[in-house]
């Protein structure tokens, strides 16, 4: 991944932009940070935070007029947070720290006048190690000595001067008028004119205002303090601070105007949601405020931040961060040359669902960035092999010759339309998928062909670019052979895959098409209102969303809209193969939807339906209503078909379709040998580890041939093992008197252990990302 890819994503996430108080502060005080410390009663830390941006905080902390106040977002709800008051509290209650000056440089600057701007400028130069000489007439501080009583504590100015002297700032009492700036340039590298000192004010260049960024005067080496219209005390601080930074740059041979963006005052780029914030009016306070009063006032700060995208996404919430921070972590993970890549699992836990991109005011889509990161991991052979292996094998299975098929409508030699139910939908309920096909073909005049296969979404989600390219090539070839008709897509994930990878293949959404046809005669509705769940891959498919609701209405199914719907819909956890790489996180996604659903869910993706069913939440697919099974109530509350059942479902779909519609006699796919008995809880336990009934059957076949690997004469239990691919399977079982094999448990591992039977088997998956294991495992 190029660094520029990271940077352009980072620029979209503004979560770490300054809040309004800071972006409107002429000296960039991190008020929110100061306030956060005060709210916790940490006065020393508060003062330290203030000192980071406010020079001579023991003096300046008393003097700011608070130009940030109108921007404070608390002010939209109540009075703004009294930031100047809290700064005064921080400097009166918090202990100051002595600045640590840099080693002395050879550079010297002259400051004419000793007003507030001069003291601030001198401090800024001195901590950089430059020699600052302040020329003044009368008491140091100029008008600071005439402030109304009570503005400053008695020793504040004197302590500031002592601090400057400690920093080796020189003060030279000067007779008569101010010295000539041009003359001072003879033995000083730069000159600052503190125009807030009435004694120096006549030096203001006629008509020439200071450069707002650098405070340059237009004459090289001469910098200006606040002009006649810049009468605020914080403006004086700002002028002195900016000039010191410019003079330091000048001394270092850097252009004083470069990299000054952060000092500009302006609106905050941070997107803050005020909805749901409690009202907190300002309380009456003593003068000066007590510690408790100050702490309460600090507690009114909203601690402005964005983090909008975090609320509905378990992935973004799962670590202490936000998209910008994660993107940086993922980038570092990718470029790690040696050592552990700690972010792998996190990268593989994003559902690539695009919700964050819809929520973010700047459109930052973490999922897109994750997609790039995964592709990079695959390309460099650093994708953990186990993360997506099962899903990729499942894709291979759905497209294998014994399972996949394409047929034009019976009696036709080319298909005007091709119905593509998708491997998950037809595998889950083959009968429902076939009923939908029969209906479509009938309604469209016998012109609809049928295509069973997997679109290739798993390869794409897992970052396998080459695999995806191969998959699309063979797809295109099959589609051409079948006559190049329009493909009718039932699954929203297929639809988004086709749109992205096969844009030349004309595709129709199933729902908009069904909506133009009369509802099938057997269609039914359930008595309770159903919560419509738009699948995440259909979040931008407004037409599909409309059509599903329209169909539901036509068949009399009452529906409810959830809070997160349409383009803001949630992911069930299958997206991006999140549930494959991180099953626990996968469940969190599903729960995000089921928790907020007051009724059964109507999900128009079969995987979504099944994942909600797996969480025990009653759910249906709209095809279940259009082509209902004998007992729709049973399906509504069913356990979803498991991984093995889905695979058998695909084989069944082929047998049913080819046998009953095309009247062919396809060779039966080999299914479970009849003498193996896997109890339901054992199967569920196996499937949670992606072990299929077929894997167990194959392992027992091996044992039948070679005998069990281990035997326990006490219990009569036997153990078989088999390594058909990069996984070794183990099965503990017993042989019943009638010869059936009762499976007690199955487990697997990936490590190669010589001496375990079956080791050394070939590695059939020629998929990308397995490069590192090569033929060895």
């Amino acid at each position: 991944m190029e660094q520029s890819t990271l940077e352009s994503f980072e620029s979209l996430c503004t979560q770490d932009a300054s809040p309004a108080c800071q972006s409107n502060c002429p000296i960039q005080v991190e008020a929110a940070m100061v306030i956060a410390h005060l709210a916790q009663g940490r006065v020393d830390e508060a003062r330290k935070s203030l000192e980071r941006h406010m020079p001579l905080a023991g003096l300046c902390g008393w003097l700011c007029e608070g130009p940030c106040l109108p921007a404070c977002l608390r002010g939209r709800l109540n009075e703004p947070v009294d930031i100047p008051l809290l700064e005064r509290h921080a400097v009166s209650a918090g202990r100051g720290t002595k600045p640590f000056p840099m080693p002395q440089t050879k550079h010297r600057a002259a400051l004419v006048g000793s007003g507030l701007s001069a003291l601030v400028c001198a401090q800024g130069l001195a901590i950089k190690g430059h020699k600052a000489m302040v020329f003044h007439s009368g008491p140091i501080g100029a008008t600071l000595n005439d402030l109304p009583p009570g503005t400053l504590p008695p020793r504040a100015l004197a302590e500031a001067i002592e601090l400057l002297e400690y920093l080796k700032v020189g003060f030279r009492e000067t007779e008569g008028g101010p010295p000539d700036p041009a003359g001072l340039l003879a033995d000083h590298g730069a000159v600052f004119l503190a125009l807030d000192d009435p004694w120096a004010a006549p030096l203001a260049p006629a008509g020439g205002a200071a450069d707002p960024v650098t405070r340059g005067s237009g004459t090289d080496g001469i910098f200006l303090g606040p002009g006649a219209t810049e009468t605020g005390r914080v403006e004086a601080m700002s002028a002195g601070k900016k000039a010191a930074a410019s003079i330091d740059r000048l001394f270092q041979g850097v252009n004083p105007a470069s990299a000054r963006e952060r000092e500009a005052v302006g609106p905050s780029r941070l997107a803050v949601d005020l909805g749901g914030q409690a009202s907190a009016p300002k309380a009456a306070m003593s003068e000066p405020p007590t510690a408790a009063e100050a702490q309460a006032e600090a507690g009114r700060c909203l601690a402005c931040s964005c983090l909008k995208c975090l609320a509905p996404c378990p992935f973004l919430r799962s670590r202490k961060g936000y998209p910008k921070k994660y993107a940086r972590e993922f980038y570092n993970n990718i470029i790690t040359a040696f050592g552990i890549r700690h972010a792998n699992r996190h990268i593989n836990s994003c559902a690539e669902c695009g919700l964050c991109g819809q929520i973010c005011p700047n459109g930052a889509d973490m999922g897109k960035f994750v997609g790039l990161a995964r592709a990079d991991m695959v390309a460099s052979s650093h994708m953990p092999v186990s993360a997506h292996e099962f899903a990729l094998e499942d894709q291979e299975h759905a497209n294998s010759p014994g399972i996949s098929f394409v047929r034009p409508a019976p009696g036709r030699d080319r298909a005007d339309y091709l119905f593509f139910p998708g491997c998950q939908l037809l595998g889950a309920y083959p009968g429902t998928a076939l009923a939908a096909y029969r209906y479509l073909n009938g309604a469209l005049g016998g012109s609809v062909g049928l295509w069973s296969g997997c679109c290739g979404a798993p390869g794409r989600w897992s970052g396998r670019g080459r695999l995806t390219a191969r998959a699309t090539e063979s797809f295109r070839a099959l589609w051409r052979q079948s006559g190049g008709g329009a493909v009718i897509l039932a699954c929203p994930s297929c639809a988004s895959f086709f749109a992205a990878e096969l844009p030349d293949v004309p595709a129709l959404g199933l729902w908009p098409l069904l909506d133009t046809l009369p509802p099938p005669p057997g269609a039914t509705a359930i008595a309770v209102a159903m919560v419509v769940h738009d699948p995440c891959s259909a979040r931008l498919d407004a037409e599909g969303q409309r059509a599903v609701r329209s169909m539901a209405a036509k068949i009399g199914q009452k529906t409810i809209e959830p809070r997160m719907t349409g383009r803001h819909t949630l992911c069930c956890g299958f997206g991006g193969l999140a549930s494959e790489a991180n099953p626990d996180m996968g469940r969190e996604y599903a729960l995000e939807r089921t928790r907020e659903s007051p009724g059964p869910i109507l999900a128009w993706c079969s995987v979504c339906r099944d994942r909600f069913l797996a969480e025990g939440h009653p759910s249906l697919h709209p095809l279940d209503l259009l082509f209902p099974p004998a007992d729709i109530g049973a399906r509504l509350g069913s356990r979803p078909p498991g991984l093995s059942a889905r695979r058998e479902g695909r084989a069944l779909f082929r047998d049913l379709a080819l046998g009953t519609v095309w009247l062919e006699n396809p060779p039966k796919e080999k299914t479970m040998p009849p003498n193996v008995d896997i109890p339901g809880e054992v199967l569920a336990d196996m499937e949670s580890r992606r072990i299929l009934a077929a894997d167990v059957a194959a392992t027992l076949e091996v044992a039948k041939k070679n005998g069990p690997v281990f035997a326990n004469p006490e219990t009569g239990r036997l153990i078989a093992s088999h390594r058909p691919r990069q996984v070794t399977f183990w099965v503990e079982y017993e042989e019943r008197p009638d010869g059936t094999l009762l499976v007690h448990r199955a487990w697997c591992h990936r490590m190669v252990v010589p001496g375990v039977p079956g080791e050394g088997a070939e590695s059939p998956a020629s998929l990308e990302g397995y490069a590192r294991t090569g033929g060895r495992v």
């Binding site: 690997v709 281990f710 035997a711 004469p713 070794t728 183990w730 487990w747 490590m751 252990v753 375990v756």
Partner: protein, 70 residues
């Protein structure tokens, strides 16, 4: 050794082929280009090793993940 794991021999189990009770055997396991010796229950005669469910789903899985992230 950070990747090490060992496993006591479970009682009652014999080698299916030789009939010998299992005893600790030393085997060299390998994954993602790393290999190391571990003690596993196995047949003292033919060397066939047993990876039981607890090991496969516990420590061995952890080490597999660790090596995959390397």
């Amino acid at each position: 050794m950070a990747h090490a794991f060992t496993k006591e021999a479970p009682s009652g189990w014999n080698c299916g082929k030789c009939g010998e009770p299992l005893q600790p055997v030393s085997v060299n396991v390998e994954y993602m280009g790393s290999s190391f010796f571990v003690q596993l229950p196995g047949c003292p005669k033919c060397g066939t090793a047993l990876i039981d469910a607890e090991l496969a789903l516990g420590r061995m899985l952890e080490v597999e993940k660790l090596l995959e992230d390397k």
